[in-house]
């Protein structure tokens, strides 16, 4: 344990100036299942961090921990610390709603609200107290533009979002997240439910977003991780096996298991 702490301090020191999330010796259990084991990790500002690993290794769990969405499972227990911009988010006094306003999330399956396109995007600003119609209009347009979907939906803003195609829905969900101007965006396999063309569009979008946002993306698709991310963490059985520059991790993995995984020997 003391060793881990030492490493930890070093890592923290190395990345300190632009670290957004700092995860320290974090453990998570679903009831008896030990789903995350002594995870140490830091997420940097305006970078894309990819999380890869075989099914069930804890990728989604880790991602959902960053905005405390994981708490929705009643049996969850945790230990360790997670700092978001130096505040410990696991602290009871830290309101999840505040955290989630800063840390947006995009899900695997597009999950627009059963409302109009406009209302979907305006939902976030509205609950956060923006009522002015003109401001809302501006936010909606800007978010949809930023999500590269404005041209496709500008004539059907009043229509139900369920009428859009899967790829459009997913970009709408991203626009919805952008509308509250988060600091970080978490994405859990955002393209796995999409066809190749939609996937391409969303990938392009993610790379554009990097200019303004910090992004953590979970993906099954190693090519995708290699293509778009700056740094990559490889999870296995709830542990972080390797965490490094994407290029280094894919070209020169330091752990045998990482190599086995990225060469497709399992998973």
């Amino acid at each position: 344990m003391s060793l881990a702490t030492v490493q930890n301090v070093q890592k923290q020191a190395a990345t300190n100036q632009n670290t957004i999330f700092q995860v320290d010796n974090f453990n998570l259990w679903y009831g008896e299942t030990h789903a995350l084991k002594e995870v140490d990790l830091s997420i940097n500002e305006k970078e894309i961090t990819a999380i890869i690993g075989p099914s069930g290794c804890g990728k989604s769990t880790f991602l959902k921990t960053l905005n405390r969405m994981v708490e929705m499972v009643p049996s969850v227990k945790t230990s360790g610390d997670i700092y978001y911009r130096s505040q410990n988010i696991l602290n009871k006094s830290f309101h999840v709603e505040n955290l989630r306003t800063r840390v947006g999330m995009v899900f695997q399956k597009p999950n627009p609200f059963p409302k109009s396109v406009y209302e979907n995007v305006a939902y976030g600003p509205k609950i956060h107290g923006i009522k002015n119609k003109k401001t809302l209009d501006e936010i909606v347009e800007k978010s949809l533009r930023d999500a590269y979907i404005w041209d496709e939906v500008k004539d059907r803003l009043k229509e139900n979002a369920y009428g859009l195609s899967g790829g459009q829905q997913q970009r709408l969900c991203i626009a919805r997240t952008l509308a509250i101007e988060p600091d970080v965006i978490l994405m859990d396999e955002p393209t796995s439910a999409l066809d190749p063309i939609s996937t391409l569009k969303v990938e392009e979008l993610i790379q554009k977003l990097k200019e303004d946002y910090s992004i953590v993306i979970v993906t099954h698709n190693m090519q995708q991780a290699a293509r778009i991310s700056d740094r990559t963490a490889f999870f296995l059985n709830g542990e972080v096996v390797e965490f490094n520059d994407t290029e280094t991790l894919f070209s020169n993995p330091s752990d045998q298991r990482t190599e086995d995984y990225i060469t497709g020997r399992f998973g």
Binding site: M69, M72, P74, N111, F113
Partner: protein
């Protein structure tokens, strides 16, 4: 090339046995042929019930309209069936029915939906598993017991708070009926709300919404038609409810909107007139059917409407 060419070295040849038995089985085979017809007859009973209901109500109602003009019945605001110059306006009864159902829904609607919200959105699994069946006990209490409770307990309490309330009034049975309907609305609305996919809730939470905001702005709009259907079914139930109003609301055929007064519902009128096993052939006797017909049509429309609304809702996701 028939089947028995098997060259198994069995001491026991089951297939042979089966073939032997088969020749004897013709009797039970005949019986089997009859079964669909027998079951068909059973199934026809429910159809016959409907035909029976509609036929009795219709034919006697027509008799009624031979003595009382249909327009008098549906537009009349006085009901004096027993008087020397009887008047048969159904309005007081419709008014009483609507008043009692309205009060019931004012109680059951908000409480039921709030309970549904709690059970579906806030309660832990364990809390839901204990609370829901307990709540449903309410729906299993015989209505006569509620009637007794309304008359001997709720009315006196109401009167001590609000002296204007009469000993028999529409308020008390309305409230108690509402309590009886709570589990129905809570349970159906909860079903509708739980069928809103979790991913949509998560979408709201991920934007920093509180539970309250996700509930009111996302879940309820998504479950709206299910919730509306539960309300309509609740109203239908209230319209058809009999004993609570019969006992606690008296038999005044008042046409009033004052909830502190006694009013009669369609159902209570039927009990009053039929209570003495109404003399066959008299106008009063036929009025029973005309009122019952109206009641039947009311509830039927409500049920059809509820089904239409909830079917629409199922298509949504």
């Amino acid at each position: 090339m028939t089947s028995d060419s098997q060259s198994k070295q069995n001491t026991l040849n089951v297939q042979e046995l089966i073939q032997q038995k088969k020749s004897k089985k013709s009797l039970s085979a005949k019986f089997e042929k009859l079964i669909p017809s027998i079951l068909f007859l059973f199934a026809m009973i429910s159809i016959l019930t409907t035909i029976g209901i509609i036929y009795t109500l219709f034919s006697e109602t027509i008799e009624f309209f031979k003595t009382v003009p249909i327009s008098d019945f549906f537009t009349g605001t006085t009901l004096k069936p027993l008087s020397q110059n009887p008047e048969f306006g159904i309005f007081p009864l419709i008014n009483g029915t609507i008043m009692s159902s309205l009060i019931a829904m004012l109680v059951a609607g908000p409480i039921g939906i709030m309970a549904a919200i709690y059970l579906s959105e806030y309660a832990s699994d364990k809390a839901r598993r204990t609370l829901k069946p307990l709540l449903e006990v309410l729906a299993g209490i015989p209505t006569i017991v509620y009637g007794f409770f309304a008359f001997t307990f709720v009315t006196p309490i109401l009167r001590s708070i609000w002296p204007a309330v009469d000993a028999t009034n529409i308020l008390s049975p309305g409230i108690v009926m509402g309590v009886m309907i709570i589990p129905m609305i809570a349970s159906l609305s909860e079903d509708a709300m739980s069928s809103v996919p979790n991913s949509i809730r998560e979408g709201a939470f991920a934007l920093g919404a509180t539970k309250l905001e996700s509930t009111f702005k996302v879940v309820i709009p998504g479950a709206l038609s299910g919730i509306i259907a539960s309300f309509i079914l609740g109203i239908s139930r209230a319209i058809g409810e009999t004993m609570i109003v019969t006992i606690a609301s008296g038999s005044s055929k008042n046409f009033t909107f004052d909830v502190t007064e006694s009013m009669q519902t369609m159902t209570a009128y039927i009990v009053e007139v039929a209570g003495g096993e109404a003399p066959a052939g008299s106008t009063i006797y036929f009025s029973l059917y005309a009122v019952a017909m109206t009641l039947f049509v009311f509830t039927l429309l409500m049920n059809l409407l509820a089904r239409y609304v909830s079917r629409k809702f199922r298509e949504e996701y």
